[in-house]
């Protein structure tokens, strides 16, 4: 069959079956052969079989587009290394997750990445979107990356920031333009003046380092889970925060808090509030706000005025002491 194959002259049901057999890699490449192919693929995939759990967009050096299905990952990596063009890899993770990776070469990684992302967004449906934003890789194009993502989806469920540039501008631009609805992870250094610009409720924040997380900033976050490292909060401020929580003046939906302690010598300042030290031999069952249960052994209880209990204990991460609080209802 040397001549080009007239696929589109076949009955629709046959084309559909051929597409069904293809992997997402082939469907994406196929959709990118022409605008007409994309239109046809879109109409063929309209009736299901094109839904995936999550789309992950990573602006790493080898920019990635990951299509996450049920226990199957398809990673499309755009690389500037010509020797990797067309390379494929298959990995299994934890014996349940299958990861297929395909590298494609481009001398303009970002342009090609955008082309693929646009095609992927047009032909597949995703329940969730995660953006891993590496601010150092394309420093002059960070804003256009944000504008590009915004043109595809005005809101995303999760985002994570990485980088060493110590600049707030691109992160602020990202958060001012893309509405994040579930999770924000800051894994980069921002200035002490940085303020989190969104005031919508998020399920989870992870901030490392949290040099910019002042008490005022912490009180303004709307969320239920916080993991904060390297914050400048003093024990006195942590005490105030806990008192505000106990009197229902802040963080009504708090489920979990992990935050660094800057002065482990003066923990009594934190506990200058009504609290109860529980015998470490006593095991209790707490009911979490999502109705799951959690076993609790010992620790220190503080009570909110509506009966919810914050169970506090302390951990170490390298040389940093961490306060951990789990909120539950203990009957």
């Amino acid at each position: 069959m040397e001549k080009p194959f007239p696929l589109f002259r076949l009955p629709r049901i046959v084309i559909e079956e051929v597409i069904r057999i293809m992997s997402p890699f082939e469907i994406i490449n196929f959709a990118m052969t022409s605008l007409k192919s994309k239109t046809l693929i879109k109409s063929l995939l309209r009736n299901g079989r094109n839904s995936y759990a999550e789309l992950q967009l990573n602006t790493y050096k080898e920019s990635e587009i990951s299509i996450i299905g049920f226990e199957v990952y398809f990673e499309f990596k755009v690389t500037s290394d010509k020797t990797k063009d067309g390379m494929r890899e298959y990995k299994e993770y934890m014996e349940t997750e299958k990861i297929y990776t395909l590298w494609i070469y481009s001398d303009n990684v970002l342009d090609e990445w955008m082309k693929v992302v646009k095609t992927v967004k047009e032909i597949f449906k995703f329940k969730k979107h995660l953006v891993r934003f590496e601010i150092d890789n394309f420093p002059t194009q960070n804003k256009s990356i944000v504008d590009f993502i915004k043109s595809l989806t005005p809101s995303i469920e999760s985002c994570e920031f990485y980088g060493k540039a110590e600049t707030d501008e691109d992160v602020e631009y990202f958060l001012n333009n893309l509405n994040v609805t579930e999770f924000v992870g800051f894994n980069l250094k921002l200035s002490d003046r940085f303020t989190f610009p969104q005031d919508n409720f998020l399920e989870c924040f992870t901030i490392d380092p949290g040099n910019w997380v002042t008490l005022d900033q912490l009180l303004r976050f709307h969320g239920s889970e916080f993991c904060i490292h390297d914050s400048p909060l003093t024990n006195y401020e942590l005490n105030l925060f806990l008192i505000f929580w106990m009197t229902s003046q802040c963080h009504q939906n708090l489920c979990f808090l992990l935050i660094n302690i800057n002065d482990p010598q003066t923990l009594d300042i934190i506990f200058n509030l009504p609290h109860e030290r529980i015998n470490p031999d006593v095991e209790r069952i707490g009911r979490l706000p999502n109705n799951d249960t959690i076993p609790l052994r010992g620790e220190i209880d503080i009570k909110r005025n509506d009966g919810m209990t914050g169970t506090i204990d302390f951990k170490w991460r390298e040389d940093q002491m961490l306060l951990q609080m789990v909120v539950s209802r203990i009957d």
Partner: protein
């Protein structure tokens, strides 16, 4: 000559687009869902006209059906690597035109196994290829073809919408028992029983 009997000895006459006729065994024909739906139970008085397809194509299709008569019942697509030597020869000896004719005929006759292997073979042409390589392998549709295909789709969508609207209209008019909320259903039943009991005791 033709009968609805299920014996594999029964032969059916098939008529091609050239008007030629040839024999096909009942067992081979029964792999075609189209045949099963149209003729199996009622039989056919004369040659069965599959006149959209030429003799060579139909013979090729039924050659496949005759060969796979004794294979286990079809249970979903097989990987191309699992095909037998005979299957591979069957596909390899076809030129592109014949292959396309066979797919079309197999699709019309609704022979699942053959259609599925053909699709797998097409998908294999594209497997592992990048966009540029795919462009060389397939003929992209012209604007006219695309337009024609879209028109067909639109027509189908309009027809489906009409059917759905009609169904919705009918559903509105008919209040079925299944649609009643459970509590209402219980109440209705109780009322009926009470009425029955009362009328019984009145008697």
């Amino acid at each position: 000559m033709t009968s609805p009997a299920s014996s594999s000895e029964v032969k059916y006459l098939i008529e091609s687009s050239e008007g030629n006729t040839f024999d096909v065994s009942g067992a081979a024909l029964r792999q075609s869902n189209t045949f099963n739906a149209m003729f199996l139970n009622i039989g056919a008085d004369g040659p069965i006209p599959f006149t959209d397809y030429n003799e060579a194509t139909l013979k090729k299709v039924f050659e496949y059906c005759e060969h796979s008569v004794n294979e286990e019942n079809y249970s979903g697509p097989k990987h191309q690597d699992d095909l037998s030597k005979w299957d591979l020869n069957f596909f390899n000896e076809m030129d592109q035109k014949m292959f396309i004719d066979v797919i079309n005929a197999s699709n019309f006759l609704d022979i699942e196994r053959l259609t599925s292997y053909c699709c797998e073979r097409i998908a294999r042409m594209l497997r592992g290829k990048n966009t540029q390589e795919m462009i060389k392998v397939i003929t992209l549709p012209t604007a006219e073809e695309l337009e024609a295909k879209q028109k067909v789709e639109e027509k189908k969508a309009a027809a489906a919408k009409k059917v759905a609207e009609k169904a919705a209209e009918t559903a509105e008019k008919t209040e079925t028992l299944e649609e009643l909320p459970v509590q209402q259903l219980v109440q209705t039943t109780r009322n009926k029983l009470t009425r029955k009991y009362l009328s019984f005791s009145n008697e």
